[in-house]
Symmetry: C2
Subunit: 412 residues, 2 copies
């Protein structure tokens, strides 16, 4: 596959008129006047910007089926009256269409890889593969449902060799998992060499309860279990002490910051600038569509940047280039992905149409991507495969219809 | 003009299969199986939602030409090193293409009316009329440029009879306008029966300076001048005392809340929930694209809602229906506009394509409009005129090119 005459970013500058040659699942060459010997597919990149894939570092993709079902509610009634009753009736088929719907949306926003925690992970893996996305998938672990732990190990074994699907281990949180479950999860991840995924210090209440129960913050408690390492993706990390921040940085924990979800659920504002200063690896996540309600990392980037500026009372913190790094390179590091717009990297990338009001005038393209862009990307390629070309995703209309029907069945 | 088989919202419910008949500049009928005797233009509304026009209650439209020129900077260097030097060289022609670019973007986001304060208002008015939008336009008044006051009165006279352009009076702020200028502005607005437009209590520094100088908050000071009334649109209102909130509500002042600009410039978070509780009329604005950096009220709605939830530590404040009212009915009230999707109202409306992942499943359409929608509207009609049909705005490519050329000239 060959992308002709496209623009791309290099160290903040825009390079025009470049060609990108994709062979197999890799970018094999970037330059001028390249030829594709296979002549399989040539894409006109004129007036478009190529960007490397974005990574949605924390989500519950099947919950896209619940989008807009319950909003503007306090946390406990939202869970007990709305979300848990739906989840109690959830079937594999619901997960199938929720995941497909979520994949559609991520493809439209240039997200080529996501990190998930939910139920029915076998189905999620199969559907993600059908849709062509890359994913790190953790079946959620809860003490209340001990059978999930056995399923988790089977899932690790079954998907250990896939090129797109990376199985991982996802104990839900310290307030839903016993020490035994947490240790078991840690050991499973080490045994199979996989990532770990947990919700951490999301609410003030979680921290207060931990101090009451363990005499330690959630971060300190997990550290005492040897749970903190660069294998871990810790979602949220809103309520952190200075010591927590130091620990997360020192242990190399990857933080999946979810600004929209945190704001919408009134969880709070994570100390992202302090985390970055301490050297922690901060990434970005959309969380589930039931608490967001979309899967648009461009929106997360803008909201993270402007909210941090106000939280720090300094408009010069979180400049555009730092924001962009969080959504791309920091995530590649977290998940060990050889991604980026360079020769030899995985062919996970998108094209964005620059002939739009929000990209005019041509001042700082990086700034436009974060502060003014809207409406998603134009073309998305993952692992060398075309998933969307010029705004068209094959089968989209059917997915929208089936997701609607599935939601009606679930809530009937 | 006839829109066939469209969906619309009524008291939160979605009504499908309705027709909207537009005659002249009004909605003349909403119902089923309507006929258009003129047979001028019929629009297929199947799978689309009609919404009434949104109002951008505070902006500086020509500054769209500066989009992305300077970001992530502290306020004073941003103004002194970047914005003021550009403005010192600004010509009528720059304003022409900046305003055209801004109109394009507003049309794409379903904004049918805007409230502006800037230089070269004659040109802004002429261009806005060419583009077909409705606007309230104030030539900015500064003590430093006394000649602007004379121009302001001429502008009020020249445009007093237009059906789209409503001239208004815009003293910049209490820290740039003397008491004499403020009183002159107030009297001009009364004499010509127009709106007043001012920046108010945007930063903590503005409030501290006012207390030092006048022994009063900016709101109290303006009240002492008889400046507060329902004729006034006060932009920002971030730093307010309890007494300020009461005064603004009691005097019927219209507040143009600009959440993205306030966050991006680190001005702070306006007490919107307290203002609403006190009965103040809160509207929404995008501010200039140089501090936003787009003109997308859907984004403002989402960010206002989620930031207020966290500021109040309550996810149930600012529910979707209240947010929608702020962007529509509150603004119609502020500007005395007979707008809304009902018979007899001005034909200012948009159509949105519902066959998108972010509108699936069909749960709460109001919630989707605020929390998940992306990418703007499909079709925009203002004053009975079609400005964009199925995503196409005639002349858009030329405007993008000319705006780019004009920016290059300005910064050469």
């Amino acid at each position: 596959m060959l992308i002709k005459d496209v623009s791309l970013l290099q160290s903040g500058a825009i390079l025009k008129g470049r060609d990108i040659l994709i062979e197999g699942n890799r970018i094999s060459k970037i330059g001028r006047d390249l030829k594709d010997e296979t002549e399989e597919e040539t894409i006109d990149g004129h007036g478009k910007l190529a960007i490397p894939g974005l990574v949605n570092s924390h989500t519950h993709l099947a919950m896209t089926l619940f989008r807009g079902y319950a909003d503007d509610m306090a946390l406990m009634p939202w869970l007990t009256e709305k979300i848990w009753p739906l989840e109690a009736r959830l079937t594999k088929e619901d997960v199938r269409w929720g995941v497909k719907l979520g994949c559609l949306e991520m493809i439209r926003f240039g997200i080529t890889c996501y990190n998930d925690m939910y139920y029915f992970m076998d189905e999620t893996a199969a559907v993600t593969k059908e849709m062509g996305l890359r994913a790190f998938l953790s079946g959620v672990l809860f003490d209340a449902r001990p059978e999930l732990t056995g399923e988790a190990e089977a899932f690790l074994k079954d998907w250990s060799e896939d090129d797109l699907i990376h199985p991982a281990v996802g104990p839900h949180a310290i307030y839903t998992c016993s020490e035994e479950t947490l240790l078991r999860a840690r050991d499973l991840a080490e045994k199979y060499g996989t990532m770990l995924h947990i919700h951490l210090s999301e609410t003030k209440g979680e921290v207060e309860d931990s101090i009451k129960k363990h005499g330690q913050s959630p971060v300190e408690y997990l550290d005492s279990l040897g749970f903190l390492s660069n294998r871990l993706v810790a979602a949220h990390c809103v309520w952190l002490s200075e010591k927590d921040i130091m620990l997360l940085a020192q242990r190399g924990v990857n933080i999946a910051h979810c600004p929209v979800s945190n704001l919408k659920l009134a969880a709070g504002i994570a100390p992202v600038v302090s985390l970055m200063k301490a050297g922690a690896n901060v990434c970005l996540g959309a969380d589930g569509a039931s608490s967001n309600n979309n899967l648009n990392l461009f929106e997360e980037m803008k909201i993270m940047a402007i909210v941090q500026k106000t939280a720090c009372r300094r408009p010069d913190v979180m400049p555009a280039e730092e924001v962009w790094k969080i959504a791309t390179e920091n995530a590649y590091k977290a998940f060990g992905l050889n991604m980026g717009l360079r020769e030899g990297a995985l062919a996970d990338l998108s094209l964005i149409d620059l002939k739009k009001p929000w990209f005019t005038p041509e001042t700082s393209i990086r700034s436009h991507l974060i502060y003014s862009m809207t409406g998603g990307v134009d073309t998305t390629i993952v692992n060398g495969q075309m998933l969307m070309k010029n705004g068209v995703i094959p089968g989209e209309a059917e997915i929208l219809e089936r997701a609607q029907a599935q939601f009606e069945r679930l809530t009937a």
